[in-house]
């Protein structure tokens, strides 16, 4: 018997292949709108807090300043006005981008990774284990994601061990819990989709060929099947990301998962909904931000999906 160890471990998916669905998506109408929107938001998340003209948390006397008007002579204009405490809405918006995008991104990436691994293994191995895993997934999926998140967050105080973890990551315990919930909520849904993709791909003869060479299940799943499931994965990842954003902002709106007074888009809408008639720009600005992000992600998804129907090499 020849030792498998003599075989150099393969690099499973080339980096180029990961970006390909996105670059292809840009060639479709939906992707051409969606991709720039998403990139803009990502840039906001990275650099937003440095660009903010005012402190996002400091109160001032200039309350209810209308957008595009000067509060006091010689100061920087409040582009999107101020709220009831005199905080600059634009600055709060910029500073709040990072937390929501980071939490949603990490949450969905974890969920997609977990779901992919579970779904592909389950689909490839089949049999009883597949049956059991899928029934557990069904159970998890029947639980409303928001309720699950509320449940987890409500017991967060008793989870003392999490304090250590959160100090390592220099972030709040709630954020970690929200990310964890997202991963658990999304994993079964991703698993389902990737399982069905795997079931189709595994009947292909190149998978049989690999089995006949004596490749391990792990190798076949990640080297032979995964590259062919990437288009499905790209669509699924984008869909999960948009759901994650909605979940994160819903939790923020309910006042969970954030530490006030740090700016959070969901919390901003919730805090200012009582002044909707007096200063509509205060709740509308974060609402528009969430909406444009979700729309952008959905358009990008659409673009990725459309690009798959087109020939693989599109004309420039």
């Amino acid at each position: 018997m020849i030792e498998k160890a003599s075989v150099t471990p393969p690099l499973f998916v080339r980096i180029k292949d990961i970006f390909k669905p996105f670059t292809n998506a840009f060639k479709t109408p939906a992707g051409r709108i969606g991709l720039p929107l998403v990139i803009l938001h990502v840039l906001l998340a990275v650099f937003g807090s440095y660009l903010a003209p005012y402190s996002p948390t400091d109160f001032s006397d200039a309350t209810y300043v209308r957008p595009f008007t000067d509060a006091t002579e010689g100061s920087i204009p409040h582009i999107l006005g101020t709220d009831q405490f005199g905080r600059d809405v634009f600055s709060r918006l910029l500073s709040g981008a990072r937390s929501i995008i980071l939490i949603s991104a990490i949450g969905s990436i974890l969920g997609v990774a977990l779901g992919t691994a579970i779904g592909m293994s389950s689909g490839y191995l089949g049999g009883k284990s597949d049956e059991i895993i899928m029934r557990i997934a069904d159970g998890l999926m029947s639980f409303p994601s928001l309720l699950l998140a509320l449940l987890v967050l409500s017991v967060s105080d008793s989870l003392v061990w999490l304090d250590g973890v959160s100090s390592v990551f220099a972030t709040g315990k709630e954020s970690l819990l929200v990310i964890g919930t997202m991963a658990i909520v999304h994993a079964p849904r991703v698993a389902r989709v990737l399982r069905s993709a795997t079931l189709t791909i595994k009947t292909q003869e190149y998978v049989d060929s690999a089995r006949l060479r004596g490749e391990s299940a792990y190798y076949i799943i990640f080297k032979e099947i995964l590259p062919n499931a990437l288009p499905v994965l790209a669509v699924e990842g984008s869909v999960r990301f948009s759901y994650a954003i909605l979940l994160a902002s819903s939790l923020g709106f309910l006042g969970l998962g954030v530490e006030p007074p740090s700016p959070d888009w969901g919390a901003m809408i919730s805090d200012s909904r009582s002044i909707l008639t007096r200063a509509p720009w205060v709740p509308l600005a974060p609402a528009a931000a969430v909406a444009s992000l979700v729309v952008g992600v959905n358009l990008l998804t659409e673009g990725i999906r459309d690009a798959q129907k087109l020939p693989t090499e599109l004309p420039e």
Partner: protein
């Protein structure tokens, strides 16, 4: 037919295609799907349009119907009854389609509406095109069903397409095409998806229709045997051009274009008078691609054995005067020998008797997915399907066992059980004397290295996302214990050995043609010098010239490495060409097995007899034998009694066939076994 139909001897052309050119403008550039096609179809005549894939045959057919998608430019003339169809009004064309010109497509399943019964589908067509009352339409439908040889024509209208076998579906499609008594019938590969016994009955029908219906038929096919069977005239296409056009006998007996001569020498033929199977010749290179712009040259010159300087300096035009038209400067130089001398199939005799593969009482059952009768308890809802029943065979060193049978005969299952992809139910399989585990993953690495498999569809057997070197180098690393660099070098050598440019090694499969992909699959099977290779329909998806190349490649590998082969195909001609021993399978059972010569000569199992007489020979003078099978291969479930072939057998004797399992009788030699109730000497008559 109507009484005022034109006399059969009428020789004015019904359809005249003159210098037809079709170009598609795609984002990736212009595709010249048809460069220059010219031919004529007369009433009562079948014109065969033949050529390899990518030669524009189907595009010619579709342009006559006016079905050309996308941005397209059509040049030349398509004269139908003297009227030019190029640039004609869509509404005018609409009135011609169905009424005057009808088409039969390759796949009957896509031509029929799966949600509608056959009868209403037929009545709908009749209502659209003919002005008849309800009763008359019904009567007419029944008459049509009868005319295409459908059993019980008066009740078949009550059935849905899925209730019919593939052959019956194609008959219905032909009946639909005939509904309005068209003058011109275009058939695009109408038998390609069918089993060979069914194909034979459909071809009989077409030959019969030709005499009954006063229509011209344009018959598109890649299969020379089929063309020889039905066509009166043949038009050969190469690289989107008509290269030769003549009466069927002239084409097959004295081809004047080197390409036609080459194609004919690529088709496996039976052994000659001396008992020698001639080695297939092959056409080197590949078809001039449709996306390339042709210069002033003969497009076949790069592959032509008699090409001269003139061929690359001038483009030959098709001759216009003679009845035998040809696009070549030197038609008089075309002889059977231009593609190489006649040589025997292989120049060695396998005399080593050591057994490489042996199967004893191999059985495979497919269990129903529906499970038990009462969810968890009771009998199984449906008894298991008998996929392979008591197969016994052995393959000795550097010999080939051919397994032949129609789809559903269990031949692929046998191979998959041998290789360990399908679970056997009982019996034993041995490789070099050592018992093989049921599942491939439980076998030793040496066993996996010694027994390899080549699949039918090269596109599916190579991972589309990985470079072609992947499959080859992984085999080398896992079996040969080579490091990266050594495996890479060896992979290049293997590619070269199968006749591919070693620089292709970094390409992905979609950048290669089907034939090239299959060579890669072969290279990966040849890696680490296996003792035996299972080839499951390995050449079935390939064009005839490529098929010849691949078959010769297999034979060469056998000679050089003393490899044993199990070669599976539905094509009797191909099996006959490569095999030393033949096993004929039907519905999971071995009907007949033994040395190739014994199996192919009398006495034969009735099924072998039917297969032999159904196989279309590329010879228009071959007398078609009249043994025809109805229906399709049944699915045999457990607790089955009697002879597996009883319900389709043309020589069924008495109740014994339905009740008793047929005995294994020795035929011409002790190794030649026939499973039939009819005594051997009676079978010989």
């Amino acid at each position: 037919m109507t009484s005022d139909s034109i006399d059969k001897t009428d020789s004015t052309p019904l359809l005249e295609v003159k210098n037809l050119g079709v170009s598609f403008f795609t984002p990736r550039g212009t595709v010249r799907a048809v460069r220059d096609a010219s031919f004529t179809v007369r009433r009562g005549e079948v014109v065969g349009l033949v050529g390899e894939s990518g030669c524009g045959k189907s595009t010619v057919a579709y342009s006559i119907m006016g079905y050309l998608p996308g941005i397209v430019q059509v040049d030349g003339e398509i004269l139908y009854d003297g009227r030019d169809l190029v640039g004609i009004d869509e509404s005018e064309l609409e009135s011609l389609r169905g009424n005057r010109i009808a088409m039969v497509y390759q796949d009957p399943q896509t031509s029929l509406n799966p949600t509608m019964k056959i009868g209403p589908q037929m009545e709908e067509v009749l209502k659209t095109h003919l002005n008849l009352g309800k009763q008359e339409i019904r009567a007419k439908a029944i008459e049509l069903f009868e005319s295409v040889g459908l059993a019980s024509p008066d009740t078949i209208g009550e059935r849905y397409p899925h209730e019919l076998s593939g052959g019956m579906q194609q008959r219905v499609v032909i009946a639909l095409a005939l509904a309005c008594e068209p003058d011109l019938l275009i058939m695009d590969e109408p038998t390609t998806g069918l089993d060979v016994t069914t194909e034979a009955t459909i071809l009989d029908l077409i030959v019969d229709l030709k005499d009954r219906v006063n229509a011209g038929i344009l018959f598109v096919s890649h299969n020379l045997g089929v063309i020889a069977r039905v066509a009166d005239r043949v038009t050969v296409m190469y690289a989107s051009q008509t290269v030769e056009d003549a009466q069927v006998r002239s084409i097959f007996n004295s081809p004047q274009h080197p390409y036609t001569a080459g194609l004919l020498s690529c088709v496996p033929k039976p052994a000659n008078e001396l008992g020698i199977t001639p080695r297939l010749k092959s056409i080197p290179g590949s078809v001039f691609e449709a996306r390339l712009e042709a210069g002033n040259e003969c497009l076949f010159a790069p592959r032509c054995p008699i090409a001269k300087d003139e061929c690359t300096q001038n483009a030959p035009q098709i001759s216009t005067t003679d009845d035998h038209r040809v696009r070549c400067f030197f038609p008089e130089e075309v002889t059977p020998d231009i593609w190489g001398e006649l040589k025997p199939r292989r120049d060695f005799e396998a005399d080593d008797d050591s057994v490489v593969i042996q199967a004893d009482d191999l059985n495979v059952r497919y269990r129903s997915r529906q499970g038990k009768k009462y969810i968890l308890f009771g009998d199984e809802a449906q008894p298991p399907v008998r996929a392979v029943v008591d197969a016994n065979f052995k393959v000795t060193k550097s010999r080939t066992l051919g397994i032949v049978g129609e789809s559903g005969s269990g031949k692929s299952t046998t191979a998959r059980a041998l290789i360990g992809l399908t679970q056997k139910s009982s019996g034993s399989m041995r490789l070099n004397g050592d018992e093989l585990e049921t599942d491939s993953t439980d076998r030793t690495s040496e066993q996996r290295a010694d027994l390899r498999m080549v699949f039918q569809n090269p596109t599916a057997s190579l991972n589309p996302k990985l470079p072609i070197k992947h499959a080859i180098t992984r085999s080398l690393k896992l079996f040969g214990d080579l490091d990266n660099q050594a495996a890479y070098d060896e992979a290049r050598a293997l590619l070269e050995a199968v006749g591919l440019n070693p620089d292709y090694i970094e390409r992905i499969p979609s950048e290669l043609s089907g034939g090239e992909q299959q060579r890669v699959a072969l290279a990966s099977a040849f890696a680490a010098n296996p003792k035996a290779i299972l080839a499951d329909e390995a050449v079935s998806a390939l064009d005839v010239s490529v098929q010849a190349q691949v078959l010769n490649l297999l034979l060469r590998n056998q000679q050089e490495n003393e490899t044993s082969f199990v070669f599976i195909s539905h094509d009797l001609g191909v099996v006959r060409y490569v095999s030393d021993d033949i096993m004929v399978m039907y519905a999971g059972h071995v009907a007949e097995q033994g040395p190739a010569d014994d199996v192919l000569s009398s006495p034969s199992h009735p099924y072998t007899e039917a297969l032999l007489s159904a196989a279309p020979e590329p010879d228009p003078d071959a007398t078609p034998s009249r043994i025809r099978l109805d229906g399709a291969v049944p699915t045999m479930r457990e607790r089955f009694t009697g002879c597996f072939f009883a319900d389709r057998c043309h020589r069924k004797i008495d109740n014994r066939c339905d009740e008793v399992e047929p005995p294994a009788q020795a035929g011409n030699s002790p190794d030649h076994i026939i499973r039939c109730h009819i005594p051997v000497d009676e079978l010989a008559t």
